[in-house]
Amino acid sequence: MTTMTTPTELSDTELLRQAKGGAAAAFAALYRRHQGPLYRYAMLRSGSPATAADIVQEAFMGLLTGRLQFDPLRGQLQHFLFGVARMLALRQEPHAAHRAAPVHGDASDEDLEPELASEAPEPLARLLDNEAAEEVRRALAMLAPHYRDVVILYELHDLSYLEIAGICQVDIGTVRSRLSRGRAALAKRLAQHRPATAA
C-alpha cells in the first residue's frame, strides 16, 4: 500500500530538493510555511510593511535562483532566512556598511545606547490595529537595530540565545547583553507610557 505525502508534511530540505527539481507545489509550500514569521520579523525590524514584503520576496527569490545556498547541516531553513532578512534589512538602513560589520565580543556594542531614534522611514506611522500592540511596536522601533534584532527574535519568535547568535553572527555573550539592555530600554519606554495611558 502506498501513502500520499502532501507538500505540507515534507521537511524543508525535501521541499527545497523538489523545488530545485522544478516542483512548483513544493516551492509554494515552502513559501507558505515560512513567509509569515519572516514577514513579521522584517516588519518589526524595518517598521515598514512594504520593506518587509520586499525583504521576504528577495529572500525567497535568492533561494529560487540559487543565489542563496542553504546548507541543512548548518541549521534550520527558517533561521537561515531570518539571517538573510536581517542582512537585507541592514542593507536598506542608512550607514548600512557601518552596521553590517559583524561584531564579536562586542565591547564597542556595549557603549552604544540601546534606545536610539529609529532609522525607519516612518517609525511612528501606524501599522497595527490594536492600540496596545501598536504602542509596543513603536517602542520596539525606537531601539537601535542590533538590539531590536535580538529582542524580536527572542520575544516574538521564541528563539534560543544560540539560534539568535547564529542569525546575528555574534557570540552568545553578545546576544545575552544585547537582549538584557534591549529589554531594559523597552521596559523603560513602556513604563513611561503606562501612567499616561492609565490617566
Binding site: A19, G22, A24, F27, A28, Y31, R32, Q35, G36, L38, Y39, R40, M43, L44, P49, A52, A53, V56, Q57, F60, M61, L64, T65, L128, D129, N130, A132, A133, E134, E135, V136, R137, A139, L140, E155, L156, S180, R183, A184, L186, A187, L190, A191
Partner: protein
Amino acid sequence: MNDDMTNDSILAAPMATLRAEMEKQAAPTGVEDALMLAFAQAHPARRWYHTLGAGRWRIAGGLTAAALALLVLAIAPQPAVQMAPGQQSLAALEAGGEFIALDSLDRIEREPAPRMVETELPRTALAPLGVEITPENAGESVKAEMLVAANGDPLAVRLTSLN
C-alpha cells in the same frame, strides 16, 4: 537579576499583545504571485522525454539501433543465387522434356494408379520453378502435362509449351 525580573513583569503583557496582533500579519499575496511567476519562468514545463534518465536513453538508443540493423538486412537486395557448374534450373530441365517432381520420389513410386492429364498453368504460378516472368507475359498460361495421383494430388509436372 532584579532588573530582569522587573522587566519581565513590565514586558510580559505588552509582548503577548504584540505577539497576538502580529500573528495576523502575513506577506501580501502579490509577493507569492511574483515568486510563483518567477519560479514558472525559471522552471519551464518539461516534455515527457525530458523526464527520461540517461540509462533509459541508452536502452532506447540500443533498441533503435538493433531495429534499424534488422530493417536494413530485411530490405537489402539479396545476391543472386549462383548455379553450380552442371546444375540446371527447373525451367531448363523442362526444355529437355523432363518431369519436375512435385512430391517425393517414394510417394510417386508408391502411387498405385497414377494418371497423366493435360492442363494449362498460369505463368505466375510457375515462377518458383524458375520460369521467367516479364510484364508482357505475366498474364499468359503454359501448357503442361501433370502426373496426378488417384486422389487428385499432383505428383509431377512437365511443361510442354513454355515458349
